[in-house]
């Protein structure tokens, strides 16, 4: 049961992007289109899964003092594997994600999960944690990209790797290119975080009202 909880927490309750606010750099850079977000998310999930699995397997072997270099070697190995595979089988995606694929090595989500979770937990829980966090990261990227891609380009689901040009929502001349820049990414993230927090607050207020507790003061 606890393994399932480890998986579920990463999806939303401890979403790496929306709650832990980790991995902002790849988030801003790759949530420009849904396809890029999905590609980055899958790549990061694979690395998270691999690094959590091996860090957890080796947690009794790796001495405390040299754990960080060991984690980095494990993470870097998986990142390089992803980089090579992607450039062989999904070249267009690899071209767009560019330097952000090798930079998964320094994605703080991955080192954070290795250090904070996998090094202290058994293999099953670590794998579930990695999978949950990876899918949570992917989900967050897709949510941001679903907002950013249409505003920035007027189309959605553009996927050159699969020969699909995307669905046109409105003419490209009305598109706001700024949203595909990091500035636009932070703006989108700000609105999404505000919406998430607003909804959570309202839910809490309704619960408080339902149980007859004094209503919380307006903030």
């Amino acid at each position: 049961m606890s393994a399932l909880n480890e998986f579920k927490k990463g999806l939303w309750a401890e979403s790496p992007v929306f709650v832990l606010l980790l991995g902002m750099c790849p988030t801003m850079a790759t949530s420009t289109t849904v396809m890029n977000g999905l590609g980055m998310g899958i790549a990061a999930t694979f690395v998270l899964l691999g690094s959590n699995l091996f860090v957890s397997l080796l947690r009794k072997v790796i001495p405390d003092k040299i754990r960080i270099p060991c984690f980095i070697v494990v993470i870097a190995t998986f990142v390089t594997i992803v980089d090579l595979m992607m450039s062989a089988y999904l070249p267009d995606l690899h071209k767009v994600l560019g330097v952000f694929v090798p930079l998964i090595v320094v994605n703080c989500i991955i080192l954070a999960r290795a250090e904070a979770f996998a090094y202290k937990n058994n293999v099953l829980n670590s794998v579930m944690d990695g999978l949950g966090m990876g899918i949570g990261f992917t989900l967050a990227l897709i949510i941001l990209a679903t907002i950013r891609e249409p505003i920035a380009t007027g189309r959605i689901l553009n996927a050159p790797d699969f020969g699909f040009g995307g669905l046109a929502l409105f003419p490209a001349k009305f598109a706001a290119g700024l949203i595909s820049q990091p500035v636009g990414g932070f703006m989108t993230l700000g609105f999404v975080l505000a919406a998430i927090n607003g909804l959570a607050n309202r839910k809490k207020m309704r619960q408080d009202a339902a149980c007859g507790c004094p209503a919380p003061k307006e903030v």
């Binding site: 003092k65 040299i66 060991c70 070697v73 594997i81 090579l84 070249p91 920035a152 820049q181």
Partner: protein
């Protein structure tokens, strides 16, 4: 002291396993990657010089002599078909608004531009990045002489809102055409 040796051995073992697995993946994927890159390069060359069927790379030393002091001339190819020489392709780099623009330019034996492909650029997304669009690159085919954008009294339609990117791209095309002419002895 003992600890250092122990740590060293553990780290070495982890690195060795990592290196071995990477070597395995690399040996499998490098073949595919290389083939794909070659294919992409051939496709771009066929677009910029459709008449040619065969391409021969110009030696770096010869190219440096022809380019005579022009910077950013990267590679050149002589194209030929069954009927003989078909033209030349030059890969150049010029400066845009956000950095270097790398492009492939093809010219036939009459000195007429046959096509332009932007290979890589870092211009502003949605503005300068439109220099990669067919609408912009497609207009070079059939042009000759020294080109300039319409804003500067030339013949090339600039990308609106991206004069500097357009000017950078046109400068690159001019440079490539100059080198191509020198290569073909025009």
């Amino acid at each position: 002291m003992r600890d250092i040796v122990r740590y060293g051995i553990i780290l070495t073992l982890i690195c060795a396993v990592s290196g071995a697995s990477l070597a395995l993946v690399y040996s499998k994927t490098s073949v595919i990657i290389e083939a794909r890159q070659q294919q992409a390069a051939m496709k771009a060359m066929a677009i910029v010089l459709p008449k040619a069927t065969d391409f021969v790379k110009v030696e770096d030393a010869e190219l440096a002599g022809v380019a005579s002091g022009q910077t950013g001339v990267l590679e050149a190819y002589l194209g030929s078909s069954a009927e003989g020489a078909a033209g030349a392709i030059v890969k150049v780099q010029s400066n845009g608004y956000g950095g270097a623009i790398t492009m492939l330019v093809g010219m036939d034996t009459e000195g007429i531009c046959q096509g332009v492909q932007i290979l890589s650029q870092t211009e502003t997304a949605g503005l300068g990045s439109k220099i990669t669009d067919e609408a912009f690159t497609g207009q070079f085919a059939g042009m000759s002489g020294t080109l300039a954008i319409k804003k500067m009294g030339g013949q090339v339609d600039q990308v609106s809102g991206a004069t500097i990117s357009s000017r950078g791209a046109v400068a690159g095309v001019n440079k490539a055409l100059d080198v191509a002419k020198a290569l073909l002895g025009l």
